[in-house]
């Protein structure tokens, strides 16, 4: 029977106290595991997305423009002239520029009017250097004419859309509190394609030809007179430049020449992330570390009380020939086992929580979260918890080490 076996038996002998201590360690570890996983994964997704488009141009604030035109969140920020889009596209630094017409929805999902060339767009992943194609068909084809729709993976899944289905669009997004002024019941869209899951905002959008948006709005007197092409409007323009180094000069040109807002999506998102999520994550992490300290205290108190209760057992072990070091070691092993079981349970609980939140974020925000990835920081945190647990065991182990064998054997 090893010291590990002896330590395990003593833990098992007071299973309720042991379980509660393990639970407290597990809760702290789970909280921080979930936070770190979600933080790292969302950050990774944002960083991947930054390569999709260098600049977004349109009216409104940079953040609102980004959320609206890149991530299909928030309300549309207004319109800009189609002629401005053509000027933006004609700039010598631009490889691709795609117009985006927003404002309509179906079952709460954004309808995105654009040009079919956007489906061919691919961007390179900074880390893996692989080309990423955010528009890949699971079924059907891309639209090649008006009133045809290509639906994102999440939309198809949620509404049950399949190729050949028809739907009416609604002006505005009632879910966001926008006024659903009128529907376009006199103009039906036909689903011609369903996209594969991409883990991006495309999963929860419906893509249609920009001309369909204009046609729908013309019927309601929103659009300008027919033939006045220069007055046709779009919500924003997504721009891909030859080099990331050209971003600032291009933005400068847009602001001075086109008189519109130009924003780097990644900057806006990281600013939002740092301003809102950053402090929230800091607070949650601080709570997690406080729980770690409380758990360490509970390990220490639990072991200390246990040592006091079994002074006679320790004295008997010493009388049987156990050295003071072996007694010290057995108690330290108890602290180690409790801590490691707490860490293991916490990792499982934390990853399960991250997985659940990942599913929610995937379906609501088009974010693919790999909840089973383990970062260096997580490993570092587990190491810290293990060390804290062992440090918590030192005082009780020292108490056990100093057992006064003769007097403890006399005490009944």
């Amino acid at each position: 029977m090893s010291l590990w076996h002896i330590a395990w038996n003593y833990l098992w002998n007071r299973w309720l106290t042991t379980s509660l201590t393990i639970l407290s360690v597990a809760l702290a570890v789970a909280l921080i595991t979930a936070i770190l996983t979600l933080r790292d994964e969302t950050k990774a997704r944002f960083e991947e997305e930054q390569n999709a488009f260098d600049i977004v141009v349109g009216p409104g604030s940079p953040l609102q423009l980004t959320l609206n035109a890149v991530y299909y969140l928030d309300r549309p920020t207004g319109s800009m002239a189609y002629s401005d889009y053509l000027k933006l596209k004609a700039h010598e630094d631009v490889i691709h520029a795609f117009p985006v017409g927003l404002g309509d929805t179906v079952a709460g999902y954004r309808i995105v009017g654009t040009e079919k060339e956007m489906f061919e767009y691919a961007w390179e992943n900074d880390v893996t250097r692989e080309l990423r194609y955010p528009f890949q068909l699971a079924d059907g084809k891309f639209f090649d004419g008006p009133m045809q729709a290509v639906v994102g993976y999440q939309v198809a899944k949620a509404i049950g859309f399949k190729v050949g289905d028809e739907f009416e669009s609604i002006h505005g997004n009632i879910d966001m509190g926008e006024l659903g002024e009128f529907d376009h019941s006199d103009s039906l869209y036909t689903v011609v394609g369903v996209l594969k899951a991409s883990g991006t905002s495309n999963d929860r959008a419906v893509f249609v030809d920009l001309t369909s948006i204009w046609a729908g709005h013309e019927m309601h007197g929103e659009a300008p007179e027919a033939g006045a092409e220069d007055e046709r409007m779009v919500s924003a323009v997504l721009v891909d430049l030859y080099s990331a180094a050209l971003r600032f000069s291009y933005m400068d040109w847009v602001m001075h020449e086109i008189k519109l807002t130009a924003a780097m999506p990644i900057n806006q998102i990281m600013r939002l992330y740092n301003q809102i999520l950053g402090p929230a994550i800091m607070i949650m992490m601080a709570i997690g570390y406080i729980i770690v300290l409380i758990s360490a205290l509970s390990i220490m108190i639990g072991l200390y009380l246990s040592i006091i209760q079994r002074k006679r057992d320790l004295a008997i072990m010493r009388a049987l020939g156990a050295s003071a070091y072996e007694i010290f070691g057995a108690v330290m092993i108890e602290a180690f086992l409790v801590t490691m079981m707490g860490i293991a349970a916490g990792v499982v609980l934390g990853k399960a929580t991250a997985y659940g939140l990942g599913l929610y974020m995937g379906s609501n925000y088009g974010f693919a979260i790999n909840s089973f990835s383990v970062s260096d920081q997580e490993l570092g945190f587990y190491a810290i918890v293990a060390i804290v647990g062992l440090v918590a065991g030192i005082i009780p182990a020292w108490q056990a080490y100093r057992t006064d064998v003769a007097s403890d054997l006399q005490a009944n």
Binding site: N9, W12, M317, A319, L320, S323, A324
Partner: protein
Amino acid sequence: MIELKDCRRKLGPGVEFYCKDFHAQPGAQIALWGPSGCGKSTMLNLISGLLTPDEGMVRIDNQEIQDFGDGKMDQFRGQNFGFIFQTFNLLKPFTALQNVMLGMQFSDTRPQKEWKPRSIELLDRVGLSHRIHSKPTTMSVGEQQRVAIARALANKQKIVVADEPTGSLDPKTAASVMDLLLEMCREEAVTMLMVTHDKSIADSLETHFDCSELVQEVSS
């Protein structure tokens, strides 16, 4: 052979233990007899190295142990002494078998493969072959004392020290435990020192050592 010579140990303000001379031959069965508080347990603790004398000599098997360091003393004690106490002898989280095996584990004098067969054999000899997987809390005090006897002999120790081993037992059980202890010690050729304040129990052993004058008042 056990020998104490001019052993002093301060017990408190103005009180000390003093044993001028004590000898025990190998295989002897000696009762350390005297009233409560007379110093007989202190003497047992000095012999077994649980206490060290302030002055004097304790010699066990031709080795003077009073100057042993803690580690050496722990090892020496595990190899040479078996202990039986009045009560709460066993470690609660462990079965009878594990309690007996623990004695061998800590002393580390026998190969690990012998621990289990030797423990089972001893538990069988004390009549507890049917309780080897029982935990102390499910056993009677008499049964626990039998397990303690098996554990005290598990390592083929040279000396068994028993501190009031029948003090918590009813007369019938006490007699049966006493008989078993003496018989087992004889069979294993072990020296036994038993502390008791009961004259009738002391009389059942072949030799007495009167401890009634071991504790003395001294001027501080």
